[in-house]
């Protein structure tokens, strides 16, 4: 029997696992207002950006799509857009409007920041009260889109947390749900194994082109990527090369076929296991997951990377006994029994899948409760 969870049905048929009012900065100069409103109104989350002004072309398009994608994410009940002026705000608003969710707007011009905070606080308060009237209902696991991430990786990642997350991923795909794995550079050396899982030649070519193209872009810099990826903490944890890291990282996508290849922040249109082309740093990659509609993120860590996403609650999983001793406040699930006791991956992964439904039903994660969360939309071009 397929798994179920208690979620919030949205007007467009998607299901939220949280029910926040999203207060969203249209550009960098709006962030202080966004944060002031969120500090004043319980039930809101800030969705910020460090740029937009001066961006152009594909870079600006991806930024608008990513901001709107986070606003459209099923975990957001309604949105309050904080803009400088009307034209740029409308670029984001029109992308969120098809979801049918309520959109309110505040502008800094011409009334200034004190009025913007006061008016925004009133609007956010009304939206938060309205959102609190929604009740959770039983929903099928097939409505879940889960991003699988790893960070602060070491050699325990490929032996414990990533294979356990991979089992969770297989269970979700078997129940009709959707998995997205990202971090393009972390396929260098493992892409042939992953490409073999593509459902057809078109998907296989799209995947290989993303990985090879990204490596060629990096090579043009004339540099050795070692020390950047694997990172200094990866190397301290025993990972020697990007190839070794990639083989461990890939385990978190399980074993089911690769059905689609997505651009940064692009939502999947079908069910099953997907690859999304993103830079490897966790904050940028998880921001793309949230923009692509992931309601949850599973994050395997070895030496310990505590950061979570703002919009998509992030479940930290580790199998490193040393990290579990030194950073227990930053880990949600301990899978060290895989290494220490020789427990089997399917058993541990099945328990992780049960926990997935708990978190989807409202159990909070360490990074949520500690508000250890950040947003960063990747840049793909210069600002002028």
């Amino acid at each position: 029997m397929s798994a179920t969870f208690l979620g919030y049905p949205r007007k467009n048929g998607s299901i939220g696992v949280r029910n926040w009012v999203g207060v969203l900065s249209i550009m960098d100069n709006c962030n202080p207002i966004t944060r002031a409103i969120c500090n004043a109104v319980e039930g809101t989350i800030p969705i910020t950006t460090l740029f937009v002004r001066g961006q152009y072309g594909r870079d600006l398009e991806i930024t608008y799509n990513s901001l709107a994608g986070m606003g459209a994410n099923p975990n957001i009940a309604s949105v309050l857009l904080i803009g400088l002026e009307e034209m740029t705000t409308e670029e984001v608003a029109r992308r969120i409007r098809p979801t049918g969710k309520r959109i309110e707007v505040i502008h800094l011009q011409p009334d200034g920041t004190i009025n913007a905070v006061a008016n925004g606080t009133r609007k956010a308060m009304r939206l938060a009260i309205e959102a609190s009237g929604l009740r959770r209902q039983s929903c099928p696991a097939s409505s879940l889109v889960i991003g699988v991430e790893c960070g602060g990786s070491d050699t325990t990642s490929g032996l414990s947390c990533n294979p356990a997350i991979g089992r969770m991923a297989d269970r979700l795909v078997d129940d009709g749900g959707t998995i997205i794995i990202s971090e393009t550079s972390e396929f260098f050396g493992a892409e042939h194994l992953f490409a073999a899982r593509a459902i057809d030649d078109k998907v296989r070519k799209e995947f290989v082109d993303k990985v090879v193209g990204f490596e060629q872009d990096a090579m043009k810099m004339g540099l050795d990527i070692r020390g950047t990826n694997p990172t200094p903490d990866n190397i301290r944890g025993g990972l020697t090369t990007i190839e070794e890291k990639a083989l461990g990282a890939m385990a978190k996508a399980g074993t089911r076929p690769l059905v689609g290849v997505l651009d940064y922040g692009e939502p999947p249109v079908r069910k099953g296991m997907h690859f999304m082309a993103t830079p490897a740093p966790a904050v940028e990659s998880m921001t793309a997951f949230a923009a692509g509609g992931c309601q949850l993120i599973f994050f395997g860590t070895g030496v310990g990377n505590p950061i979570g996403n703002m919009v998509s609650p992030t479940v930290k999983v580790s199998g490193n006994v040393n990290t579990l001793r030194t950073m227990p406040d930053n880990i949600d699930v301990d899978v060290s029994e895989l290494i220490e006791k020789g427990s089997k991956v399917p058993d541990v992964g099945d328990r992780l899948y049960d926990y997935t439904m708990e978190v989807a039903s409202g159990t909070r994660t360490t990074s949520e409760v500690l508000d250890n969360r950040e947003t960063a939309i990747s840049r793909f071009g210069p600002t002028i």
Partner: protein, 98 residues
């Protein structure tokens, strides 16, 4: 006795799941059995060589190539960035022979 996991029978490295000291006999688990005597301290999570490997030879873990030896590596030696090179993302070597 420190333990080390071997993930594939073709691997020439094993991953320490305890802290290893030079001179320790390290017990192999997984896809290989027996012991290997550590020639150097090997931290938790780091790799030990389990088959003598010459310079330029491939380093294999998960049954897959993870790099090549940049120096001869004896069984029992610590295997890491001092004696293994990545062969990917090497813009510094672009245009030169691999």
């Amino acid at each position: 006795m420190p333990r080390a996991l071997v993930l594939n029978e073709s691997d020439n490295v094993a991953t320490l799941i305890d802290t290893g000291k030079a001179g320790d006999a390290c017990a192999l688990q997984g896809e290989a059995k027996g012991t290997v005597k550590l020639l150097a301290d090997v931290p938790f999570g780091h790799k030990v060589c389990i088959k003598d490997t010459s310079e330029g030879q491939e380093i294999v873990k998960y049954g897959t190539i993870i790099g090549k030896a940049s120096a001869a590596i004896r069984s029992g030696a610590h295997v890491h960035i001092h004696n293994v090179e990545s062969v990917r993302g090497r813009g510094d070597q672009a245009g030169t022979s691999k």
